[in-house]
């Protein structure tokens, strides 16, 4: 937060490191908020000169950022050229800003789509997706859902996603003596990730704002057969195997699960007017930001799905989501993520919609952690 820069599109002041203008949503041209370039840590690893033990995390394991999209897409309506003010120069259709709709495809087996939806004026969902090239090896799927009632949730949620991405760029801790101790170390890493996201959200909030930015957080980390999840709030992670029997991996921090636990039918609990009242979130006015964590070992082909409530509002159960996955009939992750967003849009698009997916085709041996020994 040092020098002042202005948005190249609308000339509003943008804080350092912010990639999308808070005012108009245009990309600011700032480098990604990436304090650690993917290959740089090698030079600064304090363990580098240690004579006895090798570094337990090899920087080469750090996942690279997905490629930046090349140029502005042509008009979705007529194929015309989109002008600098985001309106098509032929048919006048407003092209979504990069903040209103963006896609990431870090590897052939992982992709995500983050979209404004229909009703909301801004896209306050945020997404960050990382993956290693080799299918089924290692991926990070992050979704944050900015809370609409605050002023700059769209900026804050994206900053939070990028901050958490840095923490999770390299493999989760391994080489612990017992599964329990490893779980504890993984939980600590996830807590570091939510803490980093929280710090970024707080940092992008106007200190005087009476209505500070806040966001949910959900993350799935695929490491071979192991899928680790962590969440704060009601954004979700699912495992949807091809042969059915999907499960919700995250547990909402909201009133609905409490009601479900108390015996209220799921449909009724989730449609009650306060079902979306979340009990935990990230942001300046949050209390406990320790995420709930979970893990599953997958045994067959299927999809890991991480999404915001803009999607699951229209298909809450794993079975309902599986119907949409089957309807999409694809093994291309970007096609599936787009289809799921399209499904939510067609269902009304009442909220921002984010869907990030990883295709686990033939789960391999748990080699993703072997070299940490």
């Amino acid at each position: 937060m040092s020098t002042e820069r202005v948005c190249p599109s609308c000339a509003a002041v943008v804080p350092d490191g912010v990639r999308f203008c808070e005012s108009c949503g245009a990309p600011t041209g700032a480098p990604p908020t990436d304090p650690l370039p993917p290959t740089a840590p090698l030079d600064v690893t304090p363990m580098e000169d240690a004579p006895i033990s090798a570094p337990t995390r090899r920087p080469a394991d750090a996942l690279p950022d997905p490629a930046e999209p090349a140029g502005r897409r042509p008009c979705a309506e007529c194929g015309g050229e989109v002008g600098p003010d985001y309106y098509c120069t032929t048919c006048g259709t407003k092209a979504p800003s990069e903040r209103d709709h963006f896609e990431e495809t870090p590897a052939s087996w992982v992709a995500g789509v983050c979209d404004r939806g229909i009703v909301h004026e801004r896209n306050e969902d945020a997404m960050a997706v990382l993956a290693a090239d080799r299918p089924g090896s290692r991926a990070v799927l992050l979704v944050l859902d900015g809370v609409s009632s605050s002023v700059d949730s769209d900026v804050a949620s994206l900053a939070g996603a990028h901050a958490a991405r840095e923490v999770l760029r390299r493999p989760l801790p391994a080489g612990m003596g017992t599964p329990e101790s490893r779980d504890a170390a993984v939980a600590r890493t996830f807590a570091d990730a939510t803490a980093a996201a929280n710090a970024a959200i707080v940092a992008t909030t106007d200190p005087d704002s009476p209505n500070p930015a806040s966001a949910t957080f959900v993350c799935a980390v695929v490491e071979g057969r192991q899928v680790h999840v962590a969440n704060v709030g009601d954004s979700r992670a699912y495992w949807l195997p091809d042969d059915g029997g999907g499960v919700q991996l995250s547990v909402d921090d909201s009133l609905a699960p409490a009601q479900i636990a108390a015996g209220v039918p799921r449909e009724q609990a989730e449609s009650s007017h306060d079902a979306h009242a979340i009990t935990k979130w990230l942001g300046r006015d949050s209390g406990d930001i320790t995420p709930r964590v979970g893990r599953i070992e997958v045994t067959g082909p299927g999809w890991v799905l991480v999404c915001s409530d803009g999607l699951w509002n229209y298909a809450s159960t794993p079975a309902e989501l599986a119907v949409q996955v089957r309807a999409a009939a694809t093994t291309e992750p970007l096609a599936l993520a787009s289809a799921l967003v399209g499904f939510a849009t067609a269902s009304g698009g009442h909220d921002n919609i984010t869907a990030a997916v990883a295709r686990l085709a033939v789960p391999e041996a748990d080699e993703g952690v072997q070299h940490h020994g």
Binding site: D85, G92, T93
Partner: protein
């Protein structure tokens, strides 16, 4: 250096299936400077005084005084000329028969021009087409003059074969601007308005000789303050869209719809003439193809172009929404100027019906005008209407035509019909 600004007032929300987008675009100009003093070329002023035989000696003397007052307002260095108009147009000053027909204003030329004006005597008829054509030739004789303005005074009806004046107006359109004044009550408002509308100027009545001097002074002062020559309103609309109309709605109502010059298939220019430090409002109505709920699109990009430079622009948008609380609102500015435009039409149609002897239509139209003037807070129109009709109920618009009307009051109502009022703007809007 002149600076322009644009503001758009509209309700961009359309209901499902909605197609028509209305917006008021306000364009403001500051720092315009003085005519002919900028980098855009020289300014030229031509004063045309009716010297036909109908000009009574008292009126002629007032016209001479008025012309002299106008000459006093012309800034030194400005090219100028004076025309005496009757059956033919005569170049009264400068006294040349060939070559450049205008001279630069200075102490000597001002004195000579005033002497020439003082020799005016009324004789002959009224052939306005010849006046306009001579003015065009004089402007054309000085190639440095790029900002051309005429002050035209007449006292009578044009006496030429039908169509002749219209041809002359057509030749002058887009070449020079003209502010027109009629003195007395023997001239035709509709006829002179055709000239002033086409030539982007004003029309008004000078009811008596005593007001001549002040009117001439004010017209010339305003003209000399127009430091920005030839602005064009440039409007882009999306492919498949239809421009329903483009109107200037403040300070006066001027329909520009048919005056489009295409720039490219999606863009056209509309003339606005020269600019002083002022603010004008334009009402732009565009019909676009309906889009799905939640979609947003640009319905028009409205720019002001001076020379080849876009100096300001405003965006007119359309967003389709299912929220009725958004889509049913009519923008206050749009509603106000829609009312003011209707008011102008009601007055003109009412007076035309009255002139044609159709008192029933006149009563209905002028009654509607009274109601619209009250609703839109146009006090000037209300005052002028009350000189022509007896108002029984302003809210209902029930009126009776007055039995004896001062012809000048009726003409003043007619010339003022296009003048609009503004409404206060909510600074947060």
């Amino acid at each position: 250096m002149a600076e322009f600004s644009a503001a758009v007032y509209q309700n961009e929300f359309l209901p499902d299936g909605g197609t028509d987008v209305n917006a008021i675009v306000t364009i403001g100009c500051t720092g315009a400077g003085t005519a002919g003093q900028g980098s855009g070329g020289d300014a030229g002023e031509i004063i045309i005084v009716d010297t036909s035989g109908s000009m009574a000696p008292e009126t002629m003397q007032a016209a001479i005084d008025g012309a002299k007052a106008a000459l006093d307002e012309i800034v030194d260095g400005t090219y100028f000329a004076v025309i005496a108009g009757a059956d033919h147009a005569m170049l009264a000053y400068p006294a040349v028969s060939s070559g450049p027909g205008m001279v630069r204003m200075d102490g000597r030329t001002r004195h000579e021009a005033m002497s020439a004006v003082e020799r005016f005597i009324g004789s002959g008829g009224t052939a306005i087409s010849t006046w306009l054509d001579l003015a065009g030739q004089l402007f054309a004789s000085i190639k440095d003059v790029t900002q051309r303005h005429v002050l035209l005074l007449t006292d009578g009806e044009n006496r030429e074969r039908p169509g002749k004046l219209d041809e002359a107006i057509r030749r002058a359109t887009g070449y020079f601007q003209a502010d027109c004044r009629g003195v007395g009550t023997d001239w035709q408002v509709a006829e002179v308005r055709r000239i002033s509308e086409a030539l982007l100027g004003s029309v008004d009545i000078i009811p008596g000789p005593s007001e001549m001097r002040a009117q001439f002074q004010q017209i010339m002062r305003t003209s000399m303050a127009r430091g920005v020559s030839d602005g064009k309103l440039r409007i882009w609309t999306p492919q498949g869209a239809q421009i329903l109309f483009v109107r200037q709605v403040s300070p006066t109502v001027e329909d520009l719809t048919d005056r489009r010059t295409p720039v490219n298939p999606l863009t056209g220019d509309y003339p606005t003439g020269a600019w002083s430090d002022e603010s004008r409002d334009y009402h732009v109505a565009v019909r676009v193809a309906a889009k799905a709920i939640g979609q947003e699109q640009l319905a028009a990009r409205v720019q002001l172009v001076v020379g080849d430079q876009v100096v300001t622009q405003g965006l007119v948008k359309a967003t389709w929404s299912s929220d009725e609380s958004l889509t049913t609102k009519i923008d206050q500015q749009v509603a106000h100027y829609t009312g003011q435009t209707e008011l102008a039409r009601a007055i003109q149609e009412g007076l035309a019906a009255k002139a044609g002897g159709d008192e029933a239509t006149a009563t209905v139209k002028l009654g509607r005008a009274v109601r619209l003037a009250a609703e839109t807070g146009n006090d000037e129109a209300t005052t002028k209407l009350r000189k022509v009709v007896d108002v029984e109920d302003a809210d209902e618009g029930t009126v009776k035509l007055k039995r004896s009307i001062d012809k000048a009051d009726e003409m003043a109502l007619d010339t003022a019909s296009t003048k609009t009022t503004r409404i206060r703007r909510d600074p947060t809007a």
